[in-house]
């Protein structure tokens, strides 16, 4: 099967990355923000996979594997914190939490 040029993969990865960043900044719901972060991390994974394919080198794929495991751990901790923080609050809005300032 004719290969897909590397540049396209990277373009897609960048697009995913950008959407992730914008998503993080726009949404006020922590869970959605976390999902946006997952998107960013996956954009990185895609780029790594594409480069691994071009260089025929496993390092890239190893990195993706590691990123996935770390993402799992990070999601667990982040969600635990989110739950801890928002358990008693009425609505789940990040902007509410801004006592520390100045």
């Amino acid at each position: 099967m004719p290969g897909v040029p590397l540049a396209d993969y990277l373009a897609v990865a960048s697009a995913l990355f950008a959407v992730g960043v914008i998503g993080f900044l726009l949404r006020r719901n922590p869970i959605t923000m976390l999902m946006a972060i997952e998107l960013m991390w996956n954009a990185g994974n895609l780029a790594f996979a594409a480069f691994a394919r071009t260089f025929v080198d496993f390092s890239g794929q190893i990195f993706v594997f590691i990123v996935v495991t770390v993402a799992a751990a990070e999601a667990a901790i982040a969600l635990a914190i989110v739950v801890m923080v928002f358990r008693r609050r009425r609505d789940v809005d990040v902007d509410e939490i801004s006592e520390l300032r100045g």
């Binding site: 897909v4 373009a11 950008a18 996979a49 901790i77 989110v82």
Partner: protein
């Protein structure tokens, strides 16, 4: 091959926007699951079978299920998550603008990558066996450290969960 690629790209981009744009977290989780599956297909196209499997099993399967649990946990009996306009004025526009500029910059940076199709991959590239060999030999240390990372995750949740206030 190219057609499949463009389909996956379209799905990826649309579901990504879907994740970000939807007001209700459950909708965004579903969008994310579709996104990950399209990503898995992409991995397959890049001869990364093992990664595709992981993407589906771990990412889509475990992590997003966890997200669903938490969403249900937090939003029982409350209205739509984000009520009322964002208190932070002057936040939406600059973030979109900077996101787009970032994309443009990355795209221009990335453009220098070879536009040619990658050469034909050798037969055993991307197989789980060779991946495993690599993982446990050249990158053995990385493998070990991931162990630490997961241990920390467990300890962290235990530490936070130990709080008595967590009454439910």
């Amino acid at each position: 091959m190219m057609a499949l690629f463009w389909i996956c790209t379209a799905i990826l981009i649309l579901t990504a926007i879907g994740v970000v744009a939807s007001r209700h977290p459950v909708h965004s989780v579903i969008a994310l699951i579709v996104n990950f599956s399209a990503l898995a297909v992409m991995f397959l196209m890049l001869n990364a079978e093992f990664l595709a499997m992981i993407q589906i099993i771990i990412y889509a399967g475990a992590i997003l299920v966890l997200f669903l649990f938490v969403i249900t946990l937090l939003t029982i009996g409350t209205g739509p998550v984000e009520s009322g306009p964002s208190r932070l004025a002057f936040q939406a526009v600059p973030s979109i603008v900077s996101g787009i500029v970032a994309l443009a910059l990355l795209a221009s940076g990335v453009r220098t990558a070879s536009a040619a199709a990658p050469p034909e991959a050798p037969a055993d590239f991307g197989l789980v066996g060779s991946f495993g060999m690599q993982l446990l030999t050249t990158h053995l240390f990385a493998f070990e450290v991931t162990g630490f990372v997961l241990l920390i995750a467990v300890l962290g949740v235990v530490l936070m969960a130990a709080r008595k206030e967590l009454r439910f």
